[in-house]
Subunit: 447 residues, 2 copies
């Protein structure tokens, strides 16, 4: 037979079982935490009509989209979870209850140029709250609370959520008289992190046309050590600015009550988020020890979720975690916990020979009914090979069944980490194993 | 702005939040049960190189595949989870530990003609055990145990797992001297359920060329009321048949110990499974009250998982549940439980006005830290509208915060099903809610 060389496409993450177990734990934490904050899961198709998915059209994104025909249908793979949400809300508007709080964790597709750490298929994990016509600013305070809970539950402590408010930025531009070039100014400011103050000042003067004094004043305000005090100093000078500052105060004022410690968030007036889309609070999340990877969770407040599909006004606020990229970073940096039990089972039942297989399966059933993840090793191998199998999979316990155990209706329970072995009935073994493997473990440590 | 009509493609399931909550529970049961039996999760790309995915080539499947190019890459969407497993095992062979037990739950794509209850994007939930060179027949006994556990944990009791063994069928054909037409005979037998005995007898005589007597003898054996006794009566007449019968006895002999009740499985010699692929035990699972929907979980033993990719012999056994189709059937038949808590949260914290928002968010944080799924209702609406929101989402508890509660550091906990209301501290409310919502519920009842 002619054989095809098996391969996985470049830019597509495919993990070995131990790493997949880590990823699975991350997914579990995401689902559980999003649920805890009252978000309901939805699931939308990976394939949509191209016309629907690309309603907004244009831009870099469209070039990256996987688009194709099947029969006479013009189809495309989703490239984020926001456009499918907009479609979902517009389509099912009459059957949803607003504010509508949903989370979605799913794969999205972008045919980017393949490079290390960039993926063409990757998981996003999004939460959004969508209002019908209006949405209170208090919702903008909940996003940092969810981000904080997710990262801490993942065992990540060394992070900070940087927040700004687009009304503050727009107000500042208006106050400084650069409102006409707001778009260009924002794009330049967004590059402060990458290019530094001098180069951005040069862009603001040379490309945008600000006077050097104006560019300096703008950058002085944005890079202020105490942004809230600086903003307070501008109070009353511009209604739009005042409105933004009031929102920022409402949002940050709620954070302690929402359980967000003071060292986990900061106001950073340089955060603009490149998109026209956002209208209120915006968020970026940085790993303190790895600023070079950029934001690992971003989002913000927007006023028109679905204007391409409906004339209903649907304001919302949301954030998105690029899970595949986050996992890649954690793995690259050696930050995935060694402590997580990545074995496919907690107990490997090892019958000494086929004569005791009946007792072995009965014991396995007792263990499973008690909630112990159990595999029965049924291959005809030497005993040593059976234990090697358990070791290679890092299974915590072997449950050995020989003639004695079958006759006495017990099992020999061996802790494979300590070597300790005791003879106990199967239900007793189940209790011991459950207790040993149920200690909380964190998938990520060190940051 | 010109608007695009939002729509979801025909043949793509997109659920509203309450139904999605049901689906989520089904997925949780699948993951948990597969884990309990010692299967580890893997996740492979939805997109593969067309050359790799279609290595086997030909047939109906290939016509249904979503295939397209991006740049100069010839790509295709996976149409099942078996071919990706074969690729995965062949590609990562050196890093896997055998027997390799994996589960995978994921979306697959088939561009079938759209019709009611048929999906172009659907979830499959597969388990397989793959051996390196050899795989003991005992593994074939575990599949019914897993199927049985999954269905019972889903609350489905009225099902039966029908089993056969391909060696038994092949042995029978050899014994009856129809081995040369085995493929055609099997295809005909596979239709017994649909066409009935007479029409299949006609196919066997007219199309396959068996004598009427031979066709009758074959059908008598296959449709025997006591297939094991019938097979025992043929003992010693054909070594291939004897081998198959011995396997069938080993497998069925282990079932009681594995916790599979006698009424949940049966031997059905008419089950052939249309594919050439299977070589030992084969499985189909029927809903007793809905035989018309066919098998809801099928699979079997095979000897060559990945022969298109590798010269390694990789025998295995596995079964697959078509989750989207199963969900569709349960929903159509009204079998999804009304009892499942499909609300996005267990507690809706309702501040009477903005003056008590601070106390409200602190109480919400206490509830969340105690594991209660909590939403804070922050919209500026009348109190009645806030309760209507809770009712529409079927939230079990309202946690009302007014000036009194803020002053006394309590909450008014209202059970929205009974109307009962008490004033308690937030941590006490958390305990009451946790206890009320933690009672086990089944997503599916009535069958």
């Amino acid at each position: 037979m002619e054989r095809i060389k098996p391969r996985t496409l470049s830019g597509f993450m495919e993990l070995l079982p131990p790493q997949q177990a880590q990823m699975r734990e991350i997914m579990r934490v995401l689902r559980e935490t999003y649920s805890l904050y009252g978000f309901c899961p939805i699931d939308t198709p990976v394939i949509e009509a191209a016309e629907v998915l690309l309603a907004k059209g244009g831009g870099e994104t469209e070039k990256q989209v996987y688009r194709f025909t099947k029969g006479d249908a013009d189809l495309a793979l989703r490239f984020d979870l926001t456009v499918p949400l907009a479609k979902y809300v517009a389509l099912h508007y009459g059957q949803l209850v607003f504010p509508f709080r949903r989370y979605q964790i799913g794969k999205v597709y972008r045919g980017e140029r393949a490079q290390r750490g960039r993926f063409r298929e990757f998981y996003q994990a999004d939460i959004d709250v969508i209002g019908d016509g209006v949405l209170d600013v208090a919702n903008e305070a909940e996003m940092p609370a969810v981000i904080c809970a997710v990262f801490r539950r993942l065992g990540i402590e060394r992070f900070v959520i940087r927040m700004n408010n687009r009304k503050v930025l727009n107000g500042l531009f208006e106050y400084l008289g650069v409102g006409g070039a707001a778009g260009q100014v924002m794009t330049a400011i967004d590059k402060l992190d990458k290019l530094g103050r001098d180069k951005v000042a040069a862009i603001l003067t040379d490309d945008v046309g600000l006077t050097p004094a104006l560019a300096a004043e703008l950058l002085d305000i944005l890079a202020s050590d105490d942004p809230m005090a600086t903003l307070d100093g501008l109070s009353g000078k511009c209604p739009a600015l005042d409105e933004g500052v009031a929102e920022l105060k409402t949002v940050t004022g709620l954070l302690p009550g929402l359980g967000v410690p003071d060292d986990k968030w900061t106001i950073d007036l340089t955060i603009a988020r490149g998109l026209d889309y956002y209208t209120g609070t915006v968020y970026e999340t940085t790993l303190l020890d790895h600023p070079e990877v950029g934001s690992v969770c971003s989002g913000g407040r927007y006023d028109s979720l679905a204007e391409y599909y409906t004339d209903k006004k649907l304001p919302g606020v949301g954030v998105s975690i690029g899970v595949t990229r986050l996992f890649y970073i954690l793995q690259e940096q050696g930050l995935l916990s060694e402590e997580l039990n990545t074995a496919p089972c907690d107990a490997l039942v090892i019958p000494m020979d086929d004569g005791v297989l009946g007792h072995a399966v009965r014991c396995a059933t007792v263990l499973r009914e008690a909630g112990v993840r159990t595999q029965i090793y049924t291959e005809k191998k030497k005993l040593k090979a059976k234990f090697t199998y358990a070791d290679r999979l890092r299974v915590p316990f072997a449950v050995v069944i020989g003639e004695t155990e079958a006759a006495e209706n017990t099992v020999s329970l061996k802790n494979l980490a300590t070597g300790e072995q005791i003879a106990v009935p199967a239900d007793e073994a189940a209790k011991i194993i459950r207790e040993a493997v149920s200690r909380p473990v964190r998938p990520v440590t060190g940051i």
